[in-house]
């Protein structure tokens, strides 16, 4: 037998019920873990930890759209705003207490996600006909429109929205458990979508949209699906952040926020889910570490972005994951999410 020829061999994987129960156990375990952290960890580090959780959700969900499906969206913060305002406005209005908190949280987070997903559907169906930069700029425009609408809305019916002053006095119910529970859910969903037979269609669209269509992949459906799922989790992340900070500023959902999230996806390596997580941790931690250098903070942050792109353009992980994925043992070369082969040919002679 030829030893060098190692054809396809299924990686040993645990039975699904084992994995599913393990995930459930982790989810349940987050509660006591969160309580322990909240009691013992310095609140400043807890704050950063929560931000890490929110950013993981944002980066991983955007990765489904930008990295895996190859649709360049710059409107993620807009979807986040939809979820954040849904959760914030409702919780502030109804002020649930006691036993009502848990179902209320679950309700507003899911509702926020669903409304963000609906926004994703409305934006996605027309704009996903566009490609590359045009899509980017259209989604960016959408984010700005959402911002302008919020600034000009004092209230909707009986609900106070706050307009440009922002929304304040949202009860702070989010904690470690909600944040990382939602993040875990998001990561598991995106992971399973990306690395399943069905999810191969997402990557196929990134690689070659015309060929994917000819192979029977309903490209519009999958593109919109990626967009809607991404928007859903952005909405959930927004909801968590609204009820963690207790207040919302419409300015914090403008395109610079979207760009921060895109930076996480690219820095981690487009298409790599664990990469997005690592980058979300790094890019949340780095600015806090840089507080020591005062006014140089953002200058250094900008330089890190540029240097990182020049010296590690495929991101930290390329499109690999931190550990082998079933059916993907051999690492692929850096994915070029660019449909226009011309860009690739632009190597200097």
């Amino acid at each position: 037998m030829n030893v060098n020829m190692t054809p396809f061999r299924r990686l040993p994987t645990l039975p699904v019920w084992v994995i599913n129960s393990a995930l459930t156990a982790i989810l349940v375990g987050l509660w006591p873990l969160g309580r322990a952290l909240e009691q013992n960890l310095n609140p400043y580090y807890l704050q950063i930890l929560i931000l890490v959780g929110i950013n993981i959700m944002l980066a991983v969900s955007l990765n489904l759209v930008n990295g895996i499906t190859g649709q360049f969206s710059l409107g993620h913060a807009g979807f986040m705003a939809v979820g954040a305002y849904t959760a914030g406005v409702l919780l502030r209005h109804y002020q649930p207490e006691g036993g009502a908190i848990v179902p209320a949280m679950l309700g507003v987070l899911i509702l926020g996600g669903l409304l963000a997903a609906a926004a994703g559907l409305i934006v996605g169906i027309p704009t996903l006909r566009l490609q590359g930069d045009y899509l980017a700029i259209a989604t960016l425009g959408f984010g700005e429109i959402i911002n302008v609408v919020i600034i000009n809305t004092e209230s909707v019916g009986p609900f106070y929205v706050g307009g440009s002053a922002g929304l304040h006095g949202i009860p702070i119910y989010a904690n470690f458990f909600w944040t990382f529970g939602a993040a875990l859910f998001c990561v598991v969903c995106v992971w399973r979508l990306a690395y399943s037979n069905k999810g191969k269609a997402f990557a196929a669209i990134r690689e070659d949209e015309i060929a994917a269509g000819a192979m029977g992949v309903n490209t519009t459906y999958y593109k919109v699906a990626a967009f809607v799922i991404g928007a859903f989790f952005a909405g959930v992340a927004g909801g968590v952040s609204a009820t963690w900070f207790g207040n919302l500023d419409p300015e914090s959902f403008r395109f610079m926020r979207s760009i921060e999230i895109v930076a996480m996806v690219v820095l981690g390596g487009s298409g790599s889910i664990t990469g997005a997580i690592v980058a979300a941790i790094l890019l949340t931690w780095l600015p806090e570490q840089l507080r020591a250098v005062q006014e140089w903070r953002l200058v250094i942050y900008a330089l890190v972005l540029i240097l990182m792109m020049i010296f590690r353009p495929a991101g930290l992980l390329g499109n690999r994951e931190l550990w082998p994925v079933p059916g993907r043992r051999k690492p692929a070369p850096p994915a070029t999410s660019d449909p226009d082969s011309r860009q690739r040919m632009m190597a200097e002679g």
């Binding site: 930008n66 360049f72 027309p126 704009t127 006909r129 566009l130 590359g132 930069d133 045009y134 980017a136 700029i137 259209a138 960016l140 425009g141 959408f142 700005e144 429109i145 302008v148 609408v149 600034i151 000009n152 395109f255 760009i259 895109v262 930076a263 690219v266 820095l267 487009s270 006014e295 953002l298 200058v299 942050y301 900008a302 330089l303 890190v304 972005l305 540029i306 792109m309 020049i310 353009p313 994915a335 070029t336 999410s337 660019d338 226009d340 011309r342 860009q343 690739r344 040919m345 632009m346 190597a347 200097e348 002679g349």
Partner: protein
């Protein structure tokens, strides 16, 4: 009626800025298919450098005709050098990389320039009024003073149209322009044809940045100078370029003027409660244009799929 005419003048005057910035976008995009996200910041640097040049030159001369050329040419040269450096340091090493990577690098450059400019030692965050080089004064007006056209309105409109003509001539009438068109048409082949593509791209960036410097100088004179002034005009000028058909020189100018007009008319004629939405206009226009006619008004018509 007078008010409408005045609003049209206002709109064209705002649009002239967008047009000038859009010209630079269109050049760079036409050749590299790259949204030069830092272009708005180059415009800002143009304004900042013209501010310093004006301060310096007015320290030893009182003649407008000495000062003005120094300011304009000086800031154009500064920005051309900046444009060259940005391309050389932040984009050129990424030439064969996916666009997303280049875009992040561009955003990095943009953030860098914004934050450097906010340093007290460099410029500081506070808006600064331009030294009194040219005052905005009405030159054409009717008896009731209900229609006013200022010298700066005329200057900015004239410059954007004039530069449009010059650029068209450069692209269509010179040897460099021919190479430029070749590179923009087929990058790979033009390289084989012996065109120094690196040089052409540098030229494009320098030219586009110099145009942004002109816009920056005019706006510095008309309004004031601030470190974050490039953000929104940068975005809106890009929308203008797309509206006119990206890659098209007259398209950029027409797109810019149309953007200015539509914004002004929304502010001027919508009921007060809705004028706050004026900033959304640009983006609504953008999305509609992209959906109805992605090639823009003057864009090359893509091969029709029958």
């Amino acid at each position: 009626m007078d008010q409408l005419i005045q609003q049209l003048i206002n709109g064209l005057s705002v649009g002239a800025t967008y047009a000038l910035i859009a010209l630079g976008y269109t050049m760079v995009y036409g050749i590299l298919r790259l949204i030069n996200f830092a272009h708005g910041e180059v415009y800002m640097v143009g304004a900042v450098s013209s501010y310093y040049l004006a301060e310096w030159s007015m320290g030893w001369t009182h003649s407008l005709w000495v000062s003005l050329p120094i300011v304009v040419v000086g800031s154009m040269v500064t920005c051309a050098i900046l444009g060259f450096l940005i391309e050389f340091l932040a984009y050129r090493p990424l030439r064969d990389r996916p666009r997303l990577v280049v875009l992040i690098s561009a955003i990095g450059v943009s953030l860098l320039l914004q934050n450097l400019a906010q340093f007290q030692a460099i410029f500081g965050p506070t808006p600064k009024r331009f030294p009194e080089l040219i005052q905005s004064t009405p030159v054409l007006y009717n008896a009731a003073h209900t229609i006013v056209l200022t010298n700066l309105d005329i200057l900015s409109l004239g410059l954007s149209l004039g530069l449009m003509v010059i650029m068209t001539w450069v692209v269509l009438g010179t040897k460099t322009g021919l190479a430029l068109r070749a590179v923009s048409f087929r990058f790979d082949i033009s390289m084989l044809m012996g065109i120094n593509t690196g040089k052409i791209i540098s030229f494009t960036f320098m030219f586009g940045s110099a145009l942004a410097a002109v816009a920056g100088t005019i706006d510095a004179i008309r309004y004031d100078v601030r470190p974050l002034m490039g953000l929104m005009p940068g975005l809106k000028a890009f929308v203008a370029a797309v509206l006119g058909g990206i890659g098209s020189i007259p398209g950029a100018v027409v797109g810019g003027l149309l953007m200015g007009l539509s914004e002004t008319l929304v502010k001027g004629y919508l009921p007060s409660a809705y004028t706050g939405y004026a900033d959304a206009v640009a983006f609504v226009v953008l999305i509609v244009i992209l959906l109805v006619r992605p090639t823009g008004l003057f864009g090359r018509v893509a091969p029709e799929k029958v």
